[in-house]
Symmetry: C4
Subunit: 205 residues, 4 copies
């Protein structure tokens, strides 16, 4: 006897958490009043905030697209999937904190390395949890919709797995070149958005 | 003549409130600028914030899972259910305040006891309201879907009821050992996530 | 030729705005660090914040219940309804600002009157907009579901209309007894929750 | 072979982001404690915050109405639409930052021009992305519901296109008369709300 959950309301709740985490990122961008005498320069000076904003936004957006793709192909969730999903949401919701830390620390020689590495560990954790969620679904084919093809399964495995490697490599690099690594995280996040498989394939080119 | 509400939009609204309350928790985590000269240490120093974050996240996540399970089994809501639901949402939305207070107070010998006890009272209130919501549904079987079994009803009663006892015991303990009690709240919250019954049972092991 | 909107996604968007506005209220509650040496007292000292929180929470919750009831009975929205709905959401979203102002000002003899009156004007505006939305629906019966009875229409008119009077009276009173008036607003908000008509009537008592 | 996405969950996620971005705007309105001795005056003094709040609220509300209208007419989304939608949400979520900047800078002769122009560039970007999203749908008619008429297509093109011109003109004006330009942005945003085509036409006048 195994517990089964319908996925509809879990998707709605997860969408809410993703949407809020992605939108809260803007609260951490501000220009200090002392920069108002030359505001163009003050706006440009906030580039680390914009870099963090775009990186975290694209990463959460990409995770949302992958999450959407997974749940669309599921008929039920079981207890492992529900638990891993709560953990995934917990880590995604945490992301605004290291994002803010990176934006504050990126021009501080002492602080940038720990900030970027904490950010990288958080991204790595989202990637591991997303992959674990997917493998947890694959362990019990009854959880999938009957019409999901092997090609679709392979596409999601290709999407979820390599990011773990990318984030490990990037976070090692962060030890040496923290600021450049943030740009690398941006590229990985953008890749997640660009590579997300659709809900179905159309025969029309 | 009794008023009846469809549950669909109440679920959507409740999901929104749960998702936002759970996501706002991260706004209260930050490292003071004075800790940036040794940021690894500064990050570690924020452990009370992480403890509060994880505890409140798991607790709200567990309440959401129980709420989802209850409403899935309901055909209609009546006025009592609607009112108790608004009260439950009011207390869940309030949780970020005592969470923040615990994180700020946990290393302050004068302040930790009141902070942890206020946190415990809030958790106790969520637990009492969830249980009251469930018993309010049970009082009028017409509110339940016709296919809900007695075993499912018993499972929800087992899920909702003992937490009230746990929270009372824990909050008494908080008078003596406040910090250790927060860990206990974490365990109770995690238990709620782990024990939540699924939407249906599958015969496949 | 008249424009028609399906109500599904408007309800979803409105639910999101209500859920967020209601949840943001907690961000304005905090105990200053100077009160941590006697935190029980510090917690009690924040009573104006709790009063504001509960009042605004119940009021928004009651507006949500009324909004839900209206939209459930509508088949389509027209342009007036869509515009009035955007205005209603704009005023509801604004409510956290006067709520915070009341909480800060309630013990300041100079400031409490303007704060409570601004709060009252905002509540009055939500009430007028909700009533206008309802009357805008009534002007074109084609917007209503065909099975809506005259008794249901009368019930909503009774729900929406008298609050305008209550808020006008209360806001005049605020000129004399601002703090007591906040309690009156709390009673009006709770009344909105308690009086909301259900989605249907059941013959079972 | 082309990827296809169902639009339901994308609409839900986008609605969440729009609802949150629109609701976060209120967090930036506050009266400094130094203005509490004459709070009526303190409340009036915040007029730039209210102007920014109403302008951004109506603009996001108008974008939401247009977005809703577009997605209602779509059968599927393809990869371009998904990517442009993520970018559109990223820019809409960013809007609270320049809104706050305008409110802070509008009475500062040095700062108002950069603040208003940054605000204008952000509005221009939303307008370009919304138009690009629409043209991306038009490039592949298979993405549209089969019952969408040419008149509806023309109505959306008329809605989306001229705003780009309006925002370019307004942002050039901002160089000369920044405060007056904010009022112009308000008019453009209100126009978006007023001009949004409905989901269908009704023969009843």
């Amino acid at each position: 006897m195994a517990n089964r959950w319908d996925t509809g309301r879990t998707e709605a709740f997860s969408d809410g958490v993703f949407a809020i985490a992605i939108t809260l990122l803007v609260l951490d961008i501000s220009v200090p009043a002392s920069d108002f005498h030359d505001l163009w320069r003050g706006i440009v000076n906030q580039w680390p905030s914009y870099l963090g904003y775009v990186t975290s936004f694209l990463t959460i957006g990409g995770i949302w697209m992958a999450h959407h793709g997974l749940f669309r192909r599921m008929r039920y969730a079981d207890q492992n999937v529900m638990r891993l999903n709560i953990l995934l949401l917990m880590v995604v919701s945490f992301l605004p904190f290291p994002t803010r830390l990176v934006a504050e620390a990126v021009r501080d020689a002492n602080a940038e390395r720990p900030a970027v590495m904490l950010y990288g560990f958080t991204l790595l954790a989202t990637s591991i949890l997303l992959s674990a969620l997917w493998h947890s679904v694959l362990r019990d084919r009854e959880l999938l919709n009957p019409d999901v093809t092997d090609a679709e399964i392979a596409a999601f495995t290709r999407l979820a797995t390599p990011n773990i490697g990318f984030y490990i490599v990037a976070t090692v690099l962060a030890w040496r070149v923290p600021t450049a690594t943030v740009v690398l995280y941006l590229v990985i996040g953008a890749g997640l958005v660009l590579r997300a498989p659709g809900d179905r394939q159309s025969a029309v080119a």
